[in-house]
């Protein structure tokens, strides 16, 4: 008979010591290993806003993701596994984005995260995702920082960014409307980054920044800024104003009859932000990645599928935000199939450098995922209001298109330093 005996205190002490040792062994790497069973669903966390400044865009983004998930499940799932999804409102708030991401990963067993419109929210989510090695698709944020200084190995950015859109618009606008520009800039990351690109392009192409007016987020009265514009008489106003702020601005510019002169360049325009507005509110030229009236194969079928799935949605046609949500989700599921695994590193490698034919994306040029920044390089369109719509939803007409290389954001590429594979925690979802 041994002299040693287990006491309750001894057991507790051992457990505490073991816990302490385990703590010191980690959490440098979070090896969350799940059994890859074919009956275990793949869980995806949808991190889209349902309230706040980007609530409408968040809903559109989510609808896109859901359509791609439904299509995959209708085919029998991915790798024989059903796709499950979970949505929690990120409230257009970075702090909420962090909390939601943490909960989805640690408590809800989500192996992938998808969705964001606000760049600050996307950045917050991606930091949590990188900590755990969870792949995160930023579907609709347009700050160059998302694929620049805030890039991460686990994050992939699907929308065009402020630089892409500014590159597509700036030179043409200087030629058409003159070199004197004023900037209206939403006073947060996306606005500043987009304005910085515009300034750099103006310097390159011979334009002049007469003045930059910073617009705090949540501004509802733009009269002071519009009076300044009227006093200064610029040839062009470059507006980087997002979400609800932009709606209020458009309303007031239209009331003042200032939509036609000066010329307005909106670096980007999300469809849900302006859907349903009267035609006089749709002044200016803006960038987008897709339009439902593109004369390309597959577009009509895509629109019909949207209308069948969402018969009661106020937006009767898919917009660019829906498109990005759909494409990102579809390509993620496709990457899992190509990788033949849900191992995060394998899926990351399947996404990096992946080329997407123009016809599969319903765009004019082939797109690819830049392996060094993880941003999708794609066709960028410039659009303006359609004075003679063929149907009530046909609000815009496409003015020009640019191939991915012409509008490539080299500035972000210089600032992005992706974490190594070794520094990224690995796991199977």
């Amino acid at each position: 008979m041994s002299d040693s005996k287990f006491t309750r205190r001894g057991l507790l002490g051992s457990a505490t010591a073991a816990g302490g040792v385990a703590a010191f062994m980690g959490p440098w790497r979070h090896n969350r290993v799940y059994a890859q069973a074919t009956d275990k669903p793949i869980r995806i966390g949808l991190t889209s806003d349902a309230s706040g400044q980007y609530a409408n865009s968040g809903a559109s983004d989510r609808r896109g993701m859901l359509m791609a998930i439904e299509e995959a499940n209708a085919r029998g799932g991915v790798l024989g596994r059903r796709i499950e999804h979970l949505h929690i409102d990120t409230e257009t708030t970075p702090a909420t984005g962090s909390r939601v991401a943490e909960r989805m990963i640690t408590r809800e067993d989500c192996g992938f995260l998808i969705g964001a419109v606000h760049s600050g929210v996307a950045n917050a989510i991606s930091q949590i995702a990188q900590k755990y090695g969870v792949i995160y698709l930023n579907t609709n944020s347009s700050s160059p920082t998302e694929s620049g200084e805030n890039c991460h190995r686990v994050k992939f950015v699907w929308d065009g960014n402020g630089t892409n859109f500014a590159k597509a618009a700036t030179k043409n606008a200087i030629d058409a409307y003159g070199p004197d520009w004023m900037l209206l800039t939403n006073d947060y990351g996306w606005g500043h980054d987009t304005a910085a690109t515009t300034k750099a392009l103006l310097a390159e192409y011979g334009g002049t920044v007469m003045e930059e007016i910073l617009i705090p987020q949540g501004t509802r009265d733009f009269t002071a800024a519009l009076l300044k514009l009227q006093q200064a008489k610029p040839g062009v106003v470059a507006a980087a104003i997002g979400g609800d702020d932009q709606k209020a601005m458009r309303q007031q510019v239209a009331q003042l009859g200032m939509g036609a002169s000066p010329a307005w360049i909106n670096s980007q325009q999300d469809w849900p932000d302006v859907y349903g507005l009267p035609i006089e509110n749709l002044f200016g030229v803006f960038g987008t990645t897709w339009y439902y009236k593109l004369d390309l194969p597959g577009v009509a079928e895509f629109v019909a599928k949207y209308q069948a799935m969402y018969p009661d949605t106020a937006m009767r046609v898919p917009g660019n935000v829906f498109y990005n949500g759909y494409m990102a989700t579809r390509e993620l599921l496709s990457a899992i199939e190509r990788a033949g695994s849900t191992n995060n590193i394998a899926v990351i490698k399947a996404l990096e450098g992946h080329r997407m034919p123009a016809e599969s994306r319903m765009q004019h040029h082939d797109a690819y995922i830049d392996p060094n920044t993880h941003q999708v390089q794609q066709t960028i369109y410039l659009a303006s209001a359609n004075p003679s719509p063929s149907e009530p939803d046909d609000l815009f007409s496409i003015v020009t298109q640019s191939d991915p290389e012409t509008v490539r954001d080299t500035g972000s590429a210089a600032k992005c330093a992706l974490e190594s594979y070794e520094a990224t925690p690995t796991f199977d979802a």
């Binding site: 309230s51 706040g52 609530a55 409408n56 809903a59 006073d187 007016i213 910073l214 617009i215 705090p216 949540g218 501004t219 509802r220 009265d221 009269t223 002071a224 800024a225 519009l226 009076l227 300044k228 009227q230 006093q231 609800d244 709606k247 209020a248 309303q251 007031q252 009331q255 003042l256 009859g257 200032m258 849900p272 932000d273 302006v274 859907y275 349903g276 507005l277 009267p278 509110n281 106020a314 937006m315």
Partner: protein, 306 residues
Amino acid sequence: MFDLLPHIINGLTLGLLFALIALGFTLIVGVMEVINLAHGSLFALGAYFALATIGADWFAETPFGAWWLGLPLTARYVLALAVGPVLAGVAGMLLELCLRPTYGKPALYGLLLTFGAALVVEEIIRLVWGTGEQNLPVPQSINGAVLLGGMIFSKYKLFAAAFSALAILVVWLFLERTPYGAIIKAGAHDSEMVRALGYDLSRLRLLVFGFGAALAGLAGVIMVPIWGLRPHVGIDVVIPAFLIIVIGGVGSFWGAVIAALMVGLAVGITGAYASAWATMSMYILLIAVVGFRSRGLLGRKSALET
């Protein structure tokens, strides 16, 4: 100075609009001693009721709708100016009935209830009118721009400011020159004494809440053609309204009006010359005023003050 003048006019215009928003809020705080966090939701409700009164496109497909939408927009807009506030007032009275169990309890109960009501109203709006941006049309005669001294101004904004000034005057006359106004003012000063004098305090509270809510609804109808109409538009209202009543002195009518004009000027002028500080200027003004005079500009002196 010539460059500054348009921004001063703009600031005063904005201030009048802020005053209209804050008026109902300060009335309810004064009499009820309830900080109504649903004030913004009542503002939004007023605007949505006005939108329904003006009529949606689908309405045209019904027999009555075709006739209704055939009426001039000016007629429908004038009616909307009445219907929006009245129905918002009714909603406010319903809210007051819900608030009754919280009277006499810590203020937190009332705060939580009105906060919950704000969430409920916003969800109802989403269900009924959808989540998208809506446009409240205004008659052509008050749409577009007007040139004043070489500067361009929105006709509608000038109309809205003039309308707000008129509304402020009417409310003041009501409070100062009518027996009902006297009772309301007495209620704001000492509600228990009003009860002791034989007035029905419950009915007074119901009417004051309804009146304050109707003013919120009126502000909504007037403001959303400028701000845009969306389910959470009311959130944009509560913070400036709250700041204004604190700066002006809680419960003070003219305090609220003066504070609103000051806030409007601060926002308008910083918006032109230090635009990044435009929103922040409201808070800086609050700190400046409350720092020197804790009860606000025209707030009543506390019994604790010497």
